[in-house]
């Protein structure tokens, strides 16, 4: 009987990929990793990728696999590829990429929060707070506080039909919109705030998002 190789290296466009069998037991796999590399030897300083196929590994298991591979093969693992995710991870990713819509006025003392983009249909009154993992768009007057990219996404923008916020934050940057900020008092209508190359919050016409952040567009098709 020919035993199936549980662990094998394969060259690909991206470099060397170590394929790990996804049908055998976990202990069997670890054992195979340890034995597999007793035989062969590769030069040090080589970077390889690991592909776990359809096997789901917990974080602890993944760490063990990484340790075993690096120990046995004396290589550095640059990337791990897996064809499976848990529902939980998927939902997390989905909610990060989705936009949530809030209809109504966000009043003083209230907070509206979204994991992905946030669309508010209504005003955001002074002392109210809206925050989102992605961008924030307000179809109404933004007069309170807004924090886009609250998990650190500095590409996020804050757009509003009428932008006269007291505080704007994008990613890690937080700014108070004092009277010295001319652009806000001069053209509050149809404006958007974004992080410029110097890492400061700038305000431009809403229409310019197309040029400043083309990657925000997710629309496909059309003519």
């Amino acid at each position: 009987m020919i035993t199936k190789q549980l662990v094998y290296l394969k060259g690909a466009k991206e470099g060397l990929i170590l394929h790990l069998d996804d049908q055998c037991g976990y202990d069997e796999l670890i054992h195979a990793i340890q034995n597999r590399f007793m035989e062969g030897h590769i030069d040090e300083q080589v970077e390889i990728q690991i592909s776990t196929g359809n096997r789901y590994c917990t974080n602890a298991q993944m760490t063990e696999i990484l340790n075993e591979v690096e120990k046995a093969l004396k290589v550095r693992v640059s990337k791990v590829r897996s064809d499976v995710v848990t529902i939980e991870e998927l939902n997390q990713r989905l909610s990060e990429s989705q936009s949530s819509t809030y209809i109504g006025i966000v009043r003083s003392g209230q907070m509206v929060e979204a994991t992905g983009d946030l669309i508010v249909i209504g005003d955001v009154n002074p002392n109210a707070r809206v925050q989102a993992g992605g961008s924030i768009y307000v179809l109404g007057k933004l007069k309170g506080m807004a924090h886009a990219g609250k998990d650190g996404d500095s590409n996020a923008v804050i757009g509003a039909s009428f932008l006269s916020a007291t505080h704007l934050s994008i990613g890690e940057v937080r700014e108070t919109m004092t009277n010295e900020r001319k652009e806000l008092s001069e053209m509050p209508e149809m404006s958007c705030a974004y992080l410029n190359d110097e890492g400061d919050i700038s305000v431009k016409r809403l229409q310019e998002i197309r040029i400043i952040r083309p990657e925000l567009a997710t629309f496909k098709g059309g003519s």
Binding site: I105, R107, S108, G109, Q110, D123, N125, P126, N127
Partner: protein, 265 residues
């Protein structure tokens, strides 16, 4: 079955108690049976404005703690035949002496006997506020054309929207026509769009409100004043009539002043 209306504002000193006293009196003048509840435990005022201070025997806390029956605590305003009653707040307890649940039971009971139960809410958003809104079916938010009052009104409206209460209605109190005309205070339009609430009425500022409060006679009893008309209009709106918003202009602009305005542009 009557309805319970809470009168609230968030900020203190905008005229909640004065409004409660005047709306209650005006409703009684319209022949409705009204009960006013003062929920500002520890800082009661409604009895003073109504001139009923020295007729109080029992109070809200006495009622809720079973020291007396509700009827024993109700103070009758003798100026109105069996139409206007006050349930005064306790002065010696604090807001935590009462729970929202108790208040709801009390108000529900009173609604069976009265056409309107008006609840005067204390300033703030803590226990006193929660007690006051607990039994209410409707809410009236009082504000003045000051930015601080409008901010607090916004906060309170946000809180009211989370209760099982109909969309609140707005009263803008203490309007000073000259200041508003000169654009030195928020105008009515700005306030209503900012709060996006239906306007129930506007009340001009008048020194007479203070003098009449000091005498213990709500100003609606002086029908000739503009403030009394404003309160009476509001009451008619509460009763379901549609009454146009009163004009606060002192006099209609003459042809000459219109002409002048045309050239001064």
């Amino acid at each position: 079955m009557g309805e319970a209306i809470v009168i609230t504002s968030g900020k203190g000193g905008v005229g909640k108690t004065t409004t409660t006293a005047n709306l209650g009196t005006a409703l009684a003048l319209q022949g409705k049976k009204v009960c006013l509840i003062d929920t500002d435990i520890g800082l009661r005022n409604l009895d003073v404005i109504l001139g009923l201070e020295n007729r109080i025997i029992y109070d809200l806390v006495d009622t809720l703690e079973g020291r007396c029956k509700v009827h024993q605590a109700l103070v009758k305003d003798k100026r109105f035949e069996d139409l206007l009653f006050l349930l005064p707040a306790a002065q010696t307890a604090d807001k935590n002496a009462v729970s929202p649940h108790q208040m709801k039971e009390l108000v529900d009971g009173l609604k069976g006997e009265f056409d309107y139960v008006l609840i005067d809410c204390p300033a703030g958003i803590e226990q006193g506020y929660r007690n006051a809104v607990a039994g209410a079916d409707k809410a009236i938010v009082v504000t003045t054309p000051e930015i601080s009052a409008v901010r607090d009104a916004d906060r309170i409206i946000g809180l009211l929207e989370q209760e099982a209460i109909e969309s609140p209605k707005l009263i803008i109190n203490r309007i000073r026509t000259q200041l508003m005309d000169r654009g030195e205070t928020l105008d009515i339009n700005e306030i209503t769009t900012h709060l996006s609430l239906d306007l129930l009425g506007i009340i001009p500022d008048d020194d007479l409100v203070i003098t009449s409060s000091n005498k213990g006679e709500p100003i609606v009893m002086e029908p000739s004043t503009q403030v009394a008309k404003a309160y009476r209009n509001i009451v008619r709106r509460i009763m379901g009539e549609s009454v146009p918003l009163m004009s606060l202009e002192k006099q209609k602009p003459s042809l000459f002043s219109k002409f002048k305005a045309l050239f001064s542009k």
